[in-house]
């Protein structure tokens, strides 16, 4: 723990800290462009220069200089001020003065820092060099003349995304950042380079020229595109969500978000259900809420009522539906729309017990039937980190590109019963072994995977290495609220009255009874419905979500639902009155109190740990996996299917269509 003096104030810094980090600990702001906490140190922008004693009598790049015992660091001396002004002047030599038309304006590091540390005027009268635009795919727009070559995007692609397709070509003044041969960057995390870019060289293509940051109302909420529960901020203006950016949460998403999280928001204003509909003579007719409720009340269900939870719904919605069904005398609840029927009696056996952040510490990892890159991209980045620390990764399933080196053990699940020696050897030596079971394997190999807990020693003191990856934001919450039948969704097919809570992925035609769709998009579920009740999307309601590791998180409402649409729980509350069994909550707080009584884990936010008492299931697994559940990463739910950006991503990055751009 070296002791250093920063501007005369002595502080103790952690071993291995850099001078820049020491200054931050001392509360001094050090301007920087290339340095980023989550990327390797490049030291090429030189903006973080400080004066250090003892040392050469010149400014030092603080980001790459280790803090040493008895070092004296000065951040306010004339030398430092002069150095910063000089660097800023160099950086601005070739930077265009196009802030008024630049999307980064208002949240630009270069803008802010040139105001704070620059000279205030330019002495440079020569021509600036210009660089042509580069094509980087449907998400990232480039204006490369603005690039200051900090190489953050290059390091991100290499280190975090694991897709080494961005690089710096040529040299000296001709150096340019580009994707390989200007092809689209094939990463589902490519949107993060937009946030990383300290200037306006890489900006968001779908959001181009949409808004200025100071016009936007910022709402903190939780993403529902996958089960990771990415912490996001929705930026809205008026009634429209214009963009989605990640928030920092080291336990969940660090500061990344997938392209789907970021850019599915333009689907929120398309194909929306904004009024109730009732099917008459085979066609859906717009009606009033009263007429819609009357149509439902007319159904003679005799207590045979079912509710199917969609992938995007919050716990409040599921609880309201559950409460209504209870009043009607039914408990036919299910959320696993694709027909999964794994044993959900013990939540620990279907949870990501290691936790997302804990994944980094694992030293031997076995992936069973999971394409993590698509099922939970931000868990995949954690595995990359674990590999960097020396973890070995084995995988069972059809071979696919996971962005890191994997030893494939074939697609036959039977291998779980007789793991090759090299696997058992690696796990035998591992202090923190980890097995991750994906959706493809849950069906036939849940029991066999649970048996590995014994044979591979996955559960130890302070470590639980058994993990299940879910793909739906509502899954863990649904399992906690009892949305699981022993026979899976087929137990619901014969219900006389079925509620679909934004459920678009199930086989609606198999449901024989009266179908009520409560959701926000005119997608598959709505096409089959007898009554459509327009509800709110995740951006339009405050909701509680449980992510795949059992972390209870709550999001706030960013905008109001369109037209006559209402928040889901209020729909069930109003309907219950019409059905003559009024639910006992009138406000969301009352609902949450009732939900907390029903499921105490949902009462408080934060990570919940479930007691480890796995069910005894059969230990053998058979069958060859022929694919993974997610066939198209960009089109997994109703919101992304309505999003033009996601459709474009799907066409270009998954189906390989070419969108060669005309020169702009």
């Amino acid at each position: 723990m070296p002791k250093v003096k920063v501007d005369g104030v002595e502080i103790e810094v952690p071993q291995g800290a850099t001078v820049l980090q020491a200054c931050e600990l001392a509360g001094k702001e050090i301007p920087r462009f290339c340095y980023h906490e989550r990327l390797s140190i490049a030291g090429n922008c030189r903006m973080c220069l400080v004066e250090v004693k003892p040392g050469p009598p010149k400014p030092q790049a603080s980001c790459a200089l280790p803090a040493a015992e008895n070092q004296e660091i000065f951040t306010t001396t004339p030398m430092v001020k002069h150095a910063r002004e000089g660097i800023m002047e160099f950086l601005l030599i070739n930077h265009p003065l196009d802030c008024p038309i630049c999307d980064q304006g208002g949240e630009c590091d270069l803008q802010d820092q040139s105001v704070a540390y620059g000279r205030g005027h330019s002495r440079y009268a020569e021509n600036k060099r210009a660089v042509t635009e580069k094509y980087m795919g449907p998400i990232v727009k480039t204006i490369m003349t603005r690039c200051i070559q900090c190489t953050r995007c290059v390091r991100f692609a290499e280190e975090v995304a694991g897709v080494e397709e961005i690089g710096a070509i040529y040299r000296g003044e001709n150096m340019q950042i580009t994707s390989y041969l200007e092809e689209a960057v094939s990463s589902e995390l490519s949107g993060n380079v937009v946030d990383l870019c300290p200037v306006g060289a890489l900006t968001s293509k779908p959001y181009a020229f949409e808004a200025r940051p100071w016009e936007l109302r910022k709402t903190l909420t939780i993403d529902v595109m996958d089960a990771v529960g990415t912490n996001i901020r929705l930026d809205s203006r008026g009634r429209q969500v214009l963009r989605c950016v990640p928030r920092v949460n080291d336990e969940v998403n660090e500061e990344w978000a997938t392209d789907k999280t970021r850019h599915a928001v333009d689907g929120l204003v398309r194909k929306r259900l904004d009024r109730p509909y009732v099917r008459r003579d085979g066609k859906l007719h717009p009606v009033t809420w009263d007429e819609a409720f009357a149509a439902i009340a007319a159904v003679d269900h005799g207590g045979s009522v079912a509710a199917v939870a969609g992938d995007l719904v919050d716990c409040e919605t599921m609880f309201a539906a559950k409460a209504l069904l209870k009043e009607l005398g039914s408990s036919l609840l299910e959320g696993r729309q694709t027909g999964m029927d794994y044993d959900a009696s013990s939540l620990a056996a279907v949870n990501f017990n290691t936790t997302i952040a804990g994944t980094e510490e694992a030293d031997a990892i076995l992936l069973v039937g999971t394409n993590l890159r698509w099922e939970a991209p931000l868990v995949n980045t954690r595995i990359r980190k674990a590999i960097k620390k020396g973890a070995k990764v084995f995988a069972i399933g059809p071979e696919t590109e996971l962005t890191y080196k994997v030893e494939w053990l074939g697609a036959d699940l039977a291998v779980l019963g007789s793991l090759p020696e090299r696997v058992t050897e690696a796990f035998g030596k591992a202090a923190k072994p980890m097995v991750i079971v994906g959706g493809a394997a849950l069906k036939g190999a849940h029991g066999a995977a649970l048996a590995l807990v014994e044979t591979l020693g996955l559960v130890k003191d302070g470590w639980n290495g058994f993990n299940v990856v879910h793909m739906a934001a509502s899954r863990m919450g649904g399992l906690m609220l009892g949305y699981a039948q022993k026979a899976g969704i087929s137990a619901l097919y014969d219900a006389k009255l079925s509620f679909f809570l934004g459920a678009d992925e199930c086989d609606h035609a198999r449901f024989t009874g009266f179908k009520v769709y409560v959701g926000h998009h005119g997608d598959r579920g709505a096409h089959h419905a007898d009554v459509i009740l327009p509800a709110a999307s995740y951006a339009e309601k405050s909701g509680t979500y449980v992510n795949l590791e059992g972390r209870v998180q709550r999001g706030e409402r960013a905008v109001f639902p369109p037209g006559d649409a209402r928040e889901d729980w209020t729909i069930f509350r109003a309907l219950s009155e019409k059905l003559g069994c009024t639910l006992a909550f009138d406000t969301i707080d009352e609902l949450r109190a009732a939900m907390a009584l029903d499921c105490p884990e949902l009462a408080t936010l934060g990570l919940k740990t479930f007691a480890w008492n796995p069910p005894a299931l059969g230990g053998t697994a058979e069958g060859v996996l022929d694919g993974y559940p997610i066939k198209d990463f960009y089109l997994t739910n109703a919101i992304c299917r309505a999003s033009p950006t996601m459709q474009r991503c799907s066409a270009e990055l998954v189906h390989g269509e070419s969108f060669a751009e005309a020169a702009e």
Binding site: A130, V131, E165, G167, R171, Q176, L181
Partner: protein, 223 residues
């Protein structure tokens, strides 16, 4: 101008070079090159392998050689690194040609010492022989490039043609070299100054004269 020449990646290039493989000669060299680096450090072989590939392309096309994109990708696969990483190296070094060149790649140094010693005359000679900067002559023989310092300042001005340096040039000597090459002859590389062998000073040494015949300790004489 920040945009250097565009890199040919058309269907023709892919069709012509997509099946690039080492020939027997190169394969032996490849093995020797890779043998120099420890396992897991194959990326270190990027530059020598790119050079080897460029030379093989040169041999196949009867030119000085260049690096078509499929060949760069081939080298990347050879050493198991992403295409982008090798591509960056190939674009960084000016010794790698990203577009086809002629049989003789004439690289005229135009940096200050050479310029002071008459590199303008050298360029004028090239121009009058029909060489145009950045272009290949119609007969496919010469490609002219102006480059930065090649480290031959003591015998400036100089040009590098393929792997040989020609130093102490003036207008006539440059013309003579170009004509000799065009006629299929092999002009003497190195200095073109009669009586000069390498870069020794004209008329004998002018400094460290006491060191010419024997070792001499100057330290006592430092004031």
């Amino acid at each position: 101008m920040a945009d250097a020449h565009s890199i040919p990646d058309e269907a023709e290039t892919r069709a012509r070079w997509g099946a690039f493989q080492w020939n027997d000669d190169s394969r032996a060299k490849r093995d020797a090159i890779l043998g120099r680096y420890p396992k897991g450090r194959e990326q270190s072989a990027s530059i020598p392998l790119l050079d080897l590939a460029q030379r093989q392309v040169g041999a196949e096309t009867q030119t000085q050689g260049w690096l078509p994109v499929p060949v760069i990708e081939f080298v990347a696969r050879e050493i198991g690194v992403p295409y982008m990483r090798v591509y960056e190296v190939a674009t960084f070094y000016t010794m790698f040609n990203l577009a086809p060149v002629g049989r003789f790649h004439v690289q005229v140094c135009g940096t200050t010492p050479c310029m002071l010693r008459g590199s303008d005359d050298v360029l004028a000679a090239c121009k009058n022989k029909g060489l145009i900067k950045g272009k290949t002559t119609p007969d496919g023989l010469f490609t002219l490039t102006e480059v930065e310092c090649m480290g031959n300042c003591a015998s400036a001005p100089m040009v590098q043609i393929n792997d040989d340096n020609f130093e102490d040039l003036d207008y006539d000597r440059t013309v003579a070299i170009i004509e000799a090459l065009a006629n299929g002859q092999t002009p003497k590389p190195g200095t073109q100054e009669p009586g000069r062998h390498t870069v020794e000073p004209k008329g004998g040494p002018t400094s460290l004269t006491a060191m010419v015949t024997e070792n001499h300790d100057y330290r006592g004489e430092w004031a």
